[in-house]
């Protein structure tokens, strides 16, 4: 049972990281290779804010979220958009993909220069607590992480479904020209989507720092997994990202009881490939999305 | 004359929509047939079924009496059916010559041979002057020509033309009609989707009319254009009001 509880809590965090990725992909059809680096940046900022102010990490979300939104917004506005514009007529914008990969290199090394390469972790009041739910013990930090992930995903889903901005984002993803004809500012919506996708990372970061260490290459740890989650869940699908994340968390957690932890990594890749070959649109993706 | 192409009870459904509905028709070798019908009647879908882009829900496609249902597009091409696309698909970053050579490679593997074929075809369709121009720099009529040239380069017995005349001005139209006729006279069977009725009539000896995926009329141009059901389908309920 602990195995399942752990799979759930870790999986929810994977899902949270994948959420931003799936949003950006769903709207702009861009695979953002800088997602990991942006997560690292969020964790760095969260950690230092925590260190300097001692604020409760949950309050930090309100500060780091907007910061990362602006970062993402600016990235899209000044880096991605010019390249996207120049490749307007290309069906698969490969340059953007490489651009984000290069951006990841830049960000990681920038962080290395500014923050140094040390591993740090925020030791909050609940960092070392555990919560016992019957026979199952879960660390408080992870439990809160799970709650945050689910709540944020839920709020985010409602935002997409119920607000005008959310609907505009979805509409732009489904048909950008039709959206433009309906008066939606498409470039701006792209930037907002990128900003939101990045801001979601801030939430993941804040959920992570009480129990996971921060260092300049931390993004890489979660990066590939986030990709896998996104494809499993279906590119562009919000519930898919969360459920895909949980699925991966469970595979890792349960799989490791029957094989070595190293081989569960291979298992995860294998599951990913199987889904890709059998149903490329993922568990919840629609074939109309891509 | 023998039947070069035969569609038997061809049907395809997309979700709830039956795009082509129990279509039965055939083409005689060497003839030119027009396929007409309102937008959305299933003409292009029928083409896609013949060349293997879609697999029919039921029914068969026979080419030279051979069942080609279920073959992949490239296999159908090698059997001897060339097609053009309604939305022309030039290889934009290749020159006109290179575009046509791609088709020619269906029959030869030597670049020299392909270049020779391309040169002949460019002469035929009148694109020699544009030989070294990148395809995405061509005008619309030139693209339409290129589209035909690419299909011709695969040396087809049967050529499916999907609205190659649309958007041409009267002079261009006349030239294009002449070109298609001469292709037909070279012994290539032609099946064309066309909206420009006068052109269809000028080229085709026989016309099939589709509406809602079904064949509603078939016959000589005169027969078809005087068929009340056709007029109704084509001109909307105007017919009633007149």
């Amino acid at each position: 049972m602990s195995v399942v509880a752990n799979g759930l809590s870790m999986g929810a965090i994977y899902g949270l990281i994948a959420l931003g990725l799936t949003l950006i992909f769903g709207i702009m059809k861009i695979i953002n290779f800088a997602q990991g680096a942006l997560l690292m940046l969020s964790m760095m900022i969260s950690y230092w804010l925590w260190k300097l102010t001692g604020l409760n990490p949950l309050i930090l979300i309100l500060i780091v979220g907007p910061i990362m939104f602006v970062v993402g917004y600016l990235c899209q506005r000044f880096l991605v958009r010019p390249v996207l514009d120049s490749e307007k007529n290309v069906r698969e914008p490969v340059s953007v993909l490489l651009l984000t990969a290069a951006l990841a290199i830049v960000l990681e090394n920038l962080a290395l220069m500014i923050f140094g390469a040390d591993y740090v972790m925020a030791k909050t009041s609940f960092s070392e607590q555990t919560i016992a739910l019957g026979a199952v013990t879960v660390s408080a930090a992870r439990f809160y992480g799970l709650i945050i992930a689910l709540v944020v995903a839920g709020v985010f889903w409602l935002f997409l479904q119920r607000t005008q901005t959310g609907r505009n984002i979805r509409a732009t993803g489904q048909d950008r020209n039709a959206a433009a004809l309906m008066g939606i500012n498409v470039p701006n919506t792209f930037a907002i989507a990128f900003g939101l996708g990045t801001a979601l990372l801030a939430v993941a970061a804040v959920a992570l720092i009480p129990f996971y260490y921060v260092h300049p290459s931390v993004g890489q740890v979660f990066m590939t997994k986030a990709f896998i989650v996104v494809v499993l869940g279906g590119l562009g699908s919000v519930p898919g990202a969360i459920l895909g994340g949980i699925l991966i968390g469970l595979i890792e957690s349960i799989g490791a009881q029957y094989m070595t932890a190293t081989l569960t990594v291979v298992l995860v890749y294998a599951v990913f490939l199987m889904v890709l070959f059998v149903k490329p649109s993922g568990m919840f993706g629609s074939r109309y999305d891509w | 004359m023998s039947k070069i192409l035969e569609l038997k009870d061809l049907t395809i459904k997309f979700g709830g929509l039956t795009a082509v509905n129990h279509l039965n028709m055939h083409l005689e070798e060497g003839e030119a047939l027009g396929l007409i019908g309102p937008n959305g009647a299933g003409k292009t879908t029928a083409f896609n079924l013949i060349v293997g882009v879609y697999q029919p829900t039921s029914g068969k496609v026979l080419f030279n009496s051979e069942d080609i249902t279920g073959l992949k597009p490239y296999q159908v091409c090698h059997k001897g059916i060339g097609r053009t696309f309604q939305v022309v698909k030039p290889f934009g970053n290749m020159t006109v010559e290179q575009n046509i050579m791609v088709g020619a490679f269906a029959k030869t593997s030597s670049p020299r041979g392909a270049r020779q074929i391309a040169s002949n075809i460019m002469e035929k369709v009148g694109l020699q002057a544009k030989k070294n121009v990148l395809a995405h720099n061509l005008t619309i009529p030139e693209r339409k020509r290129l589209e035909m040239a690419k299909a011709l380069a695969t040396n087809p017995q049967l050529l499916l033309l999907d609205e190659v005349l649309a958007g041409l001005n009267p002079t261009e139209l006349e030239e294009a009609i002449k070109l298609i006729k001469s292709i037909n006279e070279d012994g290539i069977t032609i099946m064309m989707i066309e909206h420009v009725l006068q052109a269809t009539m000028a080229i085709c000896s026989r016309i099939v009319v589709l509406d809602y995926g079904r064949k509603i009329a078939e016959g000589s141009p005169q027969e078809v254009t005087s068929n009340p059901e056709v007029i109704k389908a084509y001109l909307g309920d105007e017919y009633d009001n007149d």
Partner: protein, 340 residues
């Protein structure tokens, strides 16, 4: 007359390249040049599938690893000369490319890229955990040490850098020749056509999947040779270094920054970019942590943003400006055949 000039130029270039070891006497410089040529070679090998056929493979590290490991395992265990082993290694890479290609070439664009990432990362883990494979020692994460036999042409082990220089130079010529052959042959036309529009290509009789597979096989074989060269040069195979993500993405970066889909683009990209990164590291390596990689990333960013067709297009424009209007002929746009 014009032809003579061009021929002269080509001969001049080849002579200069052949004379490099005479001019560059310090082994370190030669080593740097060799590494640059190796990267140019690998980028060109990737370009066959990634550039010509437009299939964004982010897992080419598999092929360098296959070539290197198979060849060196044969050498270490049975003493089979790498000269023979490289064919086995190349063949193994081709086999793997087919195994990967069959299911993945049905996928388009981003999905294909992600599939190659997953496959290659999975394989890195497997190599890392494999110590023995039948009679062969693989070494797992500890890596594979190439057995030393001293100077031996048969074992491709030299204490001097010069033989390696000529070897990689030859390989680079080879990959350029292969690229040239592909680009001007039926295969090349088919690849570019299917890259432009798969449906239109299929309608013109091109078997899209088979053509992609052939390109992937050639690319895998050439890449595997690069892996063999790496193995004999470095004489130590560390799974993450030879098969890992950085190996895979580096090839892509170099090729695209140089100008993918052209013959010379990846060569230029490979040489220039690895030279630049070497120079940056040379000057800044010991200083502020991460600075040199930061600068490297910024350079790549700038190229992608301002010269998306690659350095080769930029060079083309410069050359055109210097050589005046005479090169603008027949309305052909200047960028079109850059590097062709």
């Amino acid at each position: 007359m014009k032809f003579d000039k061009k021929l002269l130029l080509l001969i001049g270039l080849v002579v200069i390249l052949l004379l490099v070891p005479m001019m560059v006497t310090r082994p370190y410089f030669l080593h740097v040049i060799i590494m640059c040529l190796l990267w140019a070679y690998l980028a060109s090998s990737w370009n066959i599938i990634g550039g010509f056929a437009g299939q964004l493979s982010l897992g080419h590290g598999i092929y360098t690893a296959t070539g290197a490991y198979v060849t060196m395992m044969l050498f270490n265990t049975f003493g089979i000369s790498p000269w023979l082993g490289l064919f086995v290694g190349g063949a193994a890479a081709v086999l793997i490319s087919v195994l990967i290609g069959f299911p993945t070439f049905g996928l388009r664009g981003a999905y294909y890229a992600l599939a190659t990432v997953a496959i290659s990362e999975g394989i890195v883990v497997i190599i890392n955990s494999t110590h023995e494979l039948g009679p062969f020692s693989v070494g797992g994460a500890e890596g594979l040490i190439v057995k030393m036999v001293g100077d031996s042409a048969a074992a491709l082990q030299f204490s001097s850098k010069i033989p390696y220089y000529y070897l990689i130079l030859f390989m680079l010529f080879l990959v350029i020749a292969v690229s040239y052959w592909i680009k001007t042959s039926k295969l090349g036309y088919c690849l570019i056509a299917l890259k432009e529009d798969e449906d239109a290509a299929a309608a013109m009789g091109i078997n899209v999947r088979n053509n992609k597979l052939i390109a992937a096989m050639i690319s895998a074989f050439m890449t595997a040779l690069g892996g063999v060269f790496y193995a004999v040069l470095i004489r130590y195979l560390e799974p993450n270094a030879i098969a890992g993500g950085s190996m895979s993405t580096q090839m892509v970066f170099l090729s695209i920054v140089g100008g993918s889909g052209t013959i010379l683009g990846p060569v230029i990209g490979g040489i220039l970019l690895s030279l630049i990164s070497e120079v940056i590291r040379f000057y800044l390596g010991g200083q502020l942590m991460g600075l040199h990689l930061f600068i490297y990333g910024v350079i790549v960013l700038l190229v992608i943003m301002y010269q998306p067709r690659g350095i080769v297009a930029l060079l083309g424009q410069i050359v055109q400006r210097f050589s005046g209007p005479k090169t603008v002929e027949g309305g052909v746009s200047g960028v079109k055949d850059s590097g062709a």
